[in-house]
């Protein structure tokens, strides 16, 4: 293939967009909304995960052992706890330490009376889970161990956030999937319309011996520009809105400020991934319709 015709064909691609501006605009808008939803869902998800990680730091779960469980048995139990895969860290706290932590509350006299044989507390383990969403399963597992009295509840916030993250991820995935298909369809249709509007040109191109690869170029350029444009616009919108939304959220819940990701950490991944996805959807939609057209109507030259 001679390459000298390519600048001309690239120019044609941009002219297509202008000539077909209403459809091109519609494609950009639909793809833009799709990418905005995708980007928002992804940003919410990573921030919620950051929040959960932040909460997790002061979110140890306590495993209370029965008071009659002596120190030797307690240590054996600790080894069994550590062996559970979802338990990340496991820290022993003796009944003496536990009682000591109440010294102030109890007052010296009562404390003295309770020390030694009178200690009503049992030994404890402070554990931290790897995956908080697996809380129920892991607790059930812990409770089957000999010597365990009860397990403390985990923090409510962490549980809610985990649910939120799961919801955002699932809902986002579905919305993106559906909108993605719709967008693909709309872009393919836009390109098909352009090709139909230019069927004369295509038949002439084919009659003088232009290869399919060449005929394809202006239309692929059109589809790519639509995709890239939607990708860039959606990233710009998200990047502009990110800090104000984060600020508003931290006004409601203070810890959001410190635990979530700052803009300088997210803007580049947002820009790159949304532009990439836009470009990819554009390319895919374009390729589908160009190939289908060239294999069917586009093969006709003389007509009847």
């Amino acid at each position: 293939m001679k390459l000298s015709g390519i600048p001309y064909l690239l120019k044609e691609g941009f002219r297509n967009i202008w000539a077909n501006r209403m459809m091109s605009l519609a494609s950009v808008v639909v793809l833009l909304s799709c990418l905005l939803i995708t980007g928002t869902a992804a940003l919410v998800s990573v921030n919620v995960q950051a929040l959960i990680a932040g909460i997790g730091d002061d979110n140890e779960i306590t495993v209370y052992l029965r008071p009659d469980c002596n120190d030797t048995d307690s240590l054996a139990l600790g080894a069994k706890l550590s062996a559970i895969p979802n338990i990340e860290t496991c820290r022993f706290r003796s009944r003496k330490e536990v009682l000591a932590s109440y010294q102030k509350t109890l007052g010296d006299n009562i404390y003295a009376a309770m020390e030694g044989e009178g200690n009503p507390f049992g030994n404890e383990y402070k554990i931290r889970l790897q995956d908080l969403s697996q809380y129920e399963t892991t607790v059930t597992q812990i409770k089957t161990l000999e010597g365990v009295d009860k397990v403390s509840d985990r923090s409510d916030i962490a549980e809610k956030l985990t649910r939120l993250d799961q919801f955002v991820t699932t809902a986002g995935l579905w919305v993106v999937l559906i909108l993605g298909v719709v967008t693909l369809f709309i872009i393919a249709n836009t390109i098909k319309m352009t090709m139909y509007a230019r069927r004369f040109e295509i038949s002439i191109m084919k009659s003088v011996g232009a290869t399919n690869a060449f005929v394809r170029i202006p239309f692929m350029v059109e589809a790519m520009v639509i995709g890239l444009l939607a990708g860039l616009l959606s990233s710009v919108v998200l990047i502009i809105l990110y800090e104000p939304i984060r600020q508003a959220a931290s006004n409601v819940i203070g810890m959001i400020r410190t635990a979530t990701l700052p803009l300088y950490e997210v803007w580049l991944p947002v820009l790159l991934s949304l532009s990439g996805i836009g470009l990819l959807i554009g390319l895919l939609g374009g390729a589908v319709s160009v190939t289908r057209y060239l294999n069917k109507e586009g093969g006709a030259i003389l007509g009847t």
Binding site: S4, N212, L302
Partner: protein, 242 residues
């Protein structure tokens, strides 16, 4: 050179458009193909440009075997031929110059070659001064001459014209036909499909009659009228174009 041997073509809907047809056309010949509407003339041309594929038989064109030719080679076959359409197929938003240049651009010629060759082709069809016009500003005859210039711009060895005068008035038809003759005289094989018997009678030459997808007559008389001076004078000034 064109060599067809026992060629048949049945469309998917069952219409047999070409039936066991055999035909030889030598390099540099000028051939009319005539016949009533639906006779299979366009189908025959489609077989020659590999827009359609023969169901059986042999199709040789310009040294290519079109029956065994893979699809990706078809563009290179088409670069050896020029095609003239009944409806001109000019792109309205492009100038006359760009319409002709288009045929070179889409197969990757450099702008330098295009700038040298297009004015030459426009001179050949007598439209040297109309390069900047838009097609709709021209008469039907002139439009067909633009499409003729486009058809010869890539120096084809075979020129195919399907009812080239179907959309223009008779006087202009003769002019276009003479131009086709002039192109033939410089060595290009020219095949013209038409159902205008009057025009053919005025011209003479080899006339192949087709009906029901078969050849019903084939005359190889010489041209009854010598090509007029005007037609013969459509020669490019310096470099040979076709």
């Amino acid at each position: 050179m064109i060599h067809l041997e026992n060629v048949s073509k049945v469309y998917p809907n069952g219409t047999q458009a070409v039936k066991d047809l055999s035909l030889d056309i030598a390099d540099g010949e000028f051939v009319f193909i005539v016949g009533p509407s639906g006779a299979g003339k366009s189908t025959l041309l489609k077989l020659l440009i590999r827009e359609e594929q023969a169901d059986s038989g042999t199709v040789l064109v310009n040294g290519h075997n079109l029956v065994t030719m893979p699809r990706r080679r078809v563009p290179y076959l088409r670069r050896t031929m020029g095609i003239v359409f009944q409806d001109f197929r000019l792109i309205d938003k492009m100038t006359v110059y760009d319409n002709v240049a288009f045929a070179m651009r889409v197969i990757g010629y450099s702008e330098k070659t295009i700038q040298r060759r297009v004015p030459m082709a426009l001179r050949m069809v007598g439209l040297a001064d109309k390069g900047k016009r838009k097609p709709h500003e021209l008469s039907g005859g002139e439009q067909q001459r633009v499409s003729l210039a486009r058809a010869i711009i890539n120096k084809p060895s075979l020129l195919i014209a399907d009812e080239p005068t179907g959309n223009i008035d008779p006087e202009r038809s003769l002019e276009v036909m003479k131009m086709l003759c002039g192109i033939c005289q410089k060595g290009t094989t020219v095949i013209v499909v038409t159902h205008e018997h009057e025009l053919v009678k005025q011209f003479g030459g080899r006339v192949i009659g087709i009906e029901g997808g078969q050849i019903t007559s084939d005359t190889t008389e010489p041209l009854r009228y010598p090509i007029t001076k005007k037609a013969a004078s459509f020669t490019e000034p310096k470099e040979g174009l076709v």
